[in-house]
């Protein structure tokens, strides 16, 4: 039978995959992919606890706001990536080592 543990396990695997992507990659866009995975893991946890813990929909509201924040973060992050590429001709994270020029 499908219970809470199945959803928590999937969320756990998503979180670990996001951590691994964020550490193993040196590409800024790939780092953003890892951030999206981690945020999705958190949102899935909220929805799972709403179903299995209490019946009110506050967890769904939390998931909804996580999705909103992720969309805003992704838009601003990709804008910064494109601007950084215009300046440095690179999207390698090690090239982003100075604050000014």
């Amino acid at each position: 039978m499908i219970n809470l543990w199945a959803y928590l396990g999937i969320s756990f695997i998503l979180f670990i995959c996001g951590i691994m992507v964020m550490i193993a990659r040196k590409n800024i866009i790939a780092l953003l992919l890892g951030v999206e995975l981690i945020l999705n893991a958190a949102a899935l946890n909220f929805a799972a606890y709403t179903k299995f813990s209490n019946g009110n929909l506050d967890g769904h509201i939390m998931s909804l706001f996580i999705i909103i924040i992720a969309a805003a973060e992704s838009a601003v992050g990709l804008g910064i990536v494109i601007r950084f590429f215009q300046l440095r001709e690179s999207i390698h994270i090690d090239d982003a080592s100075t604050l000014q020029n």
């Binding site: 995959c17 509201i61 909804l64 215009q86 090690d94």
Partner: protein, 178 residues
């Protein structure tokens, strides 16, 4: 029966997509695998009875964020230099054995810590589902417009700020040469 099949399918899609994002060396392929993972998560939301969340997941992530990522990948492609400006050899952009070893080590350590600190809180029997699969859109809209109205308005201001900020940051501006 149908619910179990949907859950298994979505779980396999989600986990396989996430693992392939870690495994693949091609950034475009990683984006497409992330899209598969998002579809799987939408299926999991549908299994949980969260119909509005499933639709939002599909619209915002599969329709918005992935397209944005693909645009950014295509706009920033084609970097060829292998050395940084100090002349040292750079780590490849999608990682090498050393970064993967570090990532695996960190994953094992954080997994052990998470299991250790959550096992005591989770030792009891898992609760049973107590929400019937009724549509949640009406209740969600009511809650969002009454109890959480302040967070709703703040998130709208945040989205406006993100929109303007992204447009201002990525605007091509004329370089000043003195």
């Amino acid at each position: 029966m149908f619910s179990n099949t949907l859950f298994l399918l979505s779980a396999v899609l989600t986990v396989a997509g996430a693992l392939m994002v870690v495994y693949t060396k091609n950034l475009m392929h990683a984006c497409i695998y992330l899209l598969a993972s998002f579809f799987g998560i939408a299926g999991l939301y549908a299994c949980l009875g969260a119909d509005f969340l499933a639709a939002t997941q599909l619209v915002v992530y599969a329709g918005g964020v992935i397209i944005l990522m693909l645009f950014a990948i295509m706009l920033t492609g084609g970097t060829g230099n292998k050395v940084n400006r100090y002349g040292l050899e750079k780590i490849p952009a999608m990682g090498n054995k050393k970064t993967y070893f570090t990532a695996g080590f960190t994953a094992i350590v954080s997994a052990l810590i998470l299991v250790k600190i959550t096992m005591s809180a989770m030792s009891g029997n898992p609760a049973v589902a107590n929400l019937t699969n009724e549509p949640t859109v009406e209740r969600l809209g009511t809650i969002l417009a009454t109890d959480h109205i302040l967070a709703f308005e703040i998130s709208s201001v945040l989205l406006l700020g993100a929109l303007v900020g992204a447009a201002v940051i990525s605007r091509p501006r004329k370089e000043i040469h003195d």
